[in-house]
Point group: D3
Chain length 239, copies 6
């Protein structure tokens, strides 16, 4: 992880939606930041933290028997023990959800160690157990088989692909009910600030829409008076 993630930024990011963030990143030229296929195991949870990555390659019969886990240097187990508090374990499973990438015991250990969450483009086993944790998790779906059947844990904290998205260690992973966005590390602060402002404006828009306003001219605010009404609305809220 190249730089410590700013705690204030992370706090802001937990209050904004992935929908808003993907739009702000699109404005900056980023089209591919949403982890495709990663769904929350439980709805209503939020995630924001720097990525700590684990890469799986396809397993091989002579290397990935059940005894593989007896090795104290097995990267999956090392990952769980060495991930920094507040970080998000992001796993590259090549989008293969036919087996698990982790289970509830490891997820519990991650929670005890203070990890912020799990993001994987593979499956999770004992998914109901993981869903009961406070620490949130996003994956392709529940999948019972042990990862050894298809995956060989290779290395930690190198850049990976996850759900079709490049994830560099330290990138900020933000999750909500829609899914997970990966914010390039150097953009996290400015995107967080803009997102808060954007969502403030959208709260105003939503109130207007609920009162019957047309979308045209309001969203985006191309009508001359929209900005003025927004300022008035803002003033009223903050007074």
């Amino acid at each position: 992880m190249n730089q410590a993630a700013d705690p204030g930024t992370l706090a802001l990011l937990k209050t904004v939606s992935t929908a808003t963030l993907t739009t702000l990143l699109y404005k900056r030229g980023f089209r591919n930041v949403f982890i495709q296929g990663a769904r929350p195991l439980r709805t209503g949870q939020r995630l924001a933290g720097p990525a700590y990555t684990l890469r799986y390659i396809p397993s091989r019969e002579d290397l990935d028997g059940v005894d593989a886990f007896r090795d104290p240097r097995h990267p999956q187990r090392v990952a769980v023990e060495e991930i920094p508090p507040g970080a998000v374990l992001v796993m590259d499973c090549r989008g293969d959800a036919s087996v698990a990438s982790a289970g509830s015991i490891l997820a519990t250990r991650l929670q005890v160690r203070g990890a912020a969450g799990i993001v994987t483009d593979g499956g999770l086993r004992d998914a109901a157990g993981i869903a009961r944790l406070d620490m949130p998790a996003w994956c392709s779906g529940p999948s019972a088989p042990t990862n050894l059947i298809r995956h060989h844990a290779l290395d930690l904290n190198n850049p990976i692909g996850c759900g079709g998205v490049p994830v560099y260690p330290g990138d900020i992973m933000v999750g909500d009910d829609d899914g997970v966005v990966c914010i390039p590390a150097h953009l996290a602060d400015e995107v967080a600030r803009d997102a808060v402002e954007q969502e403030r404006f959208e709260a105003f828009v939503l109130e207007e829409v609920e009162r019957g306003a047309t979308i045209i001219g309001l969203y985006p605010p191309t009508a001359p008076d929209t900005r003025a009404r927004y300022k008035a609305w803002l003033a009223q809220r903050t007074s």
Copy 2:
């Protein structure tokens, strides 16, 4: 929309299941009326209304920047403002759910304007927000990225494909927890009537089955006495 949908028909269609409707359409030779991959954002909701269509083609970088929405004639925004009350916004996203086809602000506007619901073979963003509306929505799943990244809104109320199904403007879209069926407009009335009758019979069948009756001869009613018992059951219910 070639013809106004009959309100009585729509009321009937909200009481019957998509399972029944697909069978009745199959009897009439229609094999491909169920929107593949469209799941309800919230269970327990019902939909019945004529289709108002929006077609997306793949987006192009020079045409579909974030400023595209500033154009008051942008078809997605026009769709939301011009859809007739009671109609269903049906979107052709070529089955691509990697981005959204709409979000909660537009969905709220649709609800305020009296639309009956949303059906898309793409994603929906801020899906939790849309799920809280009274107006129901069916889609391929939550997806945060703005539609501009992949979709260019092209035109309104032309025939489209949605979830592999042909949808002509004015066709009647009916939705429940299983998904959404598209009834060719000219068949809606007769199919609605038959569906009510079919479901009445199936209520009888279900009671018989719960009491221990065999399926054979009962469903379909090939045994000589099934029709007689059904008539008696009907008489008892309506007396």
Copy 3:
């Protein structure tokens, strides 16, 4: 079904997870026992019972009209009437979920007849109705269209593929929230015993992890004292 499934074994299997079972089968060389893509219609249910199979091939227009169900020998209907109490109806739909493989009336009949559950790699129609039954069901998802549109029920209780897994009549199907595992019949007893022991050990591990223990040396128990602490924990629990 070659042999009667042992009731004690089935009772044990209803208490253990599919995650544990896939690992124990992997230890015995079985990599492909988890029905890919079969999700529970309702969470929190458990399944254990011998497989009773139904094979579908693609339907043909002249053989699979709606009248096909009038034939009292139609294999789908025969399956529902002849499945032994306690057995699981496992259907081979070639992974095609564009139509249903059964609906709520047949599912209700299955429950009345004492079947243990439904497992299919196709869809289920009136899925909400099936989900309300006590008898659990796993499938690729809700799908309204009648099976006749794509499937021709061909034969009963022959070996099939389901979700990519070989299923021989009499194999033991075990289901939980993660999905369904197929245990080759001759291994059910020993795997059940081992699974109970393995889950007892994992209960100990989970307590240790919740108290802050490291995974390394504990899971698997390669550290010298792990086994000793486990014995003490066991003694305390059973005293």
Copy 4:
């Protein structure tokens, strides 16, 4: 095989195209007769013969080791030895081309025994060797791994699915460079006759088009004089 295929019919079918046959079957209500994904290993070959089927289910590690082929009753080997002369070996591989369904030695044996050809929705190994035979083969593509890795040969001459199409033993398989069509056995004679007539007409149409005629009114022959000119063309050819 319920009935012997008529030699005259087979001879006619080797002269007509799968394109023509699918249209004639569509006219009779059959939409799903073309084996999806089956490509010829060598272009320029023709096939016509009754189907002799082999069904594979997913393999299981304890049943499908390399020694499985030592069993003289192994269905794949029995198929090769018992297929009637003139018949087509049609294999159901569940569309899985990650391994082979047969190789060049078995294909050579099939040719020696007088089989008409091979059709599979799986792979073929040593495909170049098979392509050099006089007996034609259609498959999803070359694939080196032995079938045992994924497939368990289960039974012979039962109805199967192949490339999404129902294939009943005795159905007539016809192949050309476009692929393979499966003609329901009872329709083979009439479809063959109609196909010859249809292709005769299309030869006329093609000549007209090459001379500059418009498609409209010619193909289909809705213009009043098209039939007349066709008759003259026919008379000239046969005189």
Copy 5:
């Protein structure tokens, strides 16, 4: 078609590769211009011409029987008769190659009428016959069934998606053995010029590489002397 395509530009585009063109368009910000999945029916052919589009939606049983072609206004047949000389028929089949989008008679008529070629993300029937024409064709592969089984020809010369790419009428389609690129109409002239220059430079690079030069500093020409050597090479060639 908004503007006539410049004949000189088309002539240049027939001499350059789709590889070069996609790079030049990427430099201008276009990432999605290569028709995914469209393969040439015959290698060694070149294509350059403006797009004339035909859109298919899913077919419907009551609208798309075999008699549909008797209608002189059927859009597929109108397309073939009205496409301007030199234009490319580009068809939107929603990537569905299970049926054909055209056959050899229509392709012959297109050639007679002077069309430049065919591009489709669906199949082509009697593909061997089309491959023998001088007019080139790119498609997802040979597929015998008539388009009516899956496709309803809807309209002509509206923007479409083809192989995941937006295609506007008048865009310039360029094809070679790698596949087909769609150049936005307004960029065709400048991209053609740049492509010729780029390929001239690559001819120089290839000669250098064949003589043993390293790629580094040569391609791209970051080494100080690369440009000088290229100028000398150019001077020698043109002298």
Copy 6:
């Protein structure tokens, strides 16, 4: 590369088929050694050499513009300049063939530098140009767009996945018309020897089959006299 590949072994491996090799590896417990989806650009070529790997992750707009190639440390270019003579460039493109992983200029440089071949689960651009080289190449298919659009070249000579198969640097890649097999480095010598013997036996089998022998008892040689006849055949050949 952990160990130098034995030249004698490589010479043997160029004479045997991937079909034979996958069977011999299956006998040793390896089920997943065949690079799925990698097809030869030209038939009739053979490959045998140790793997030199290049890993791509998804590209990111700010890192992978066209100027990325100006960096002399760009891993794709470094790979081409540093691959040892006789080695095979194996690329991990996550199975994404929508863009190229290399083109004809780099392939030519590879040939000049003595590389044995190219294996990729992505596309290749200017594929016709690569096919004309003496050095063979296997890929998912021709694809014109530059790799930068989807791929970021990350690192060299680390273990990767390619076509679903684990490839460790130094593993021996063997290719023929069926495709490419990856032999774990430590097994190459013994597998090569066994393959030569196996193919010698299969040459005998093929002759027997061509003369009319049954497969049963011959292949595998379970009949008592098969081994004896094989010995006689061998003696005759070598005398």
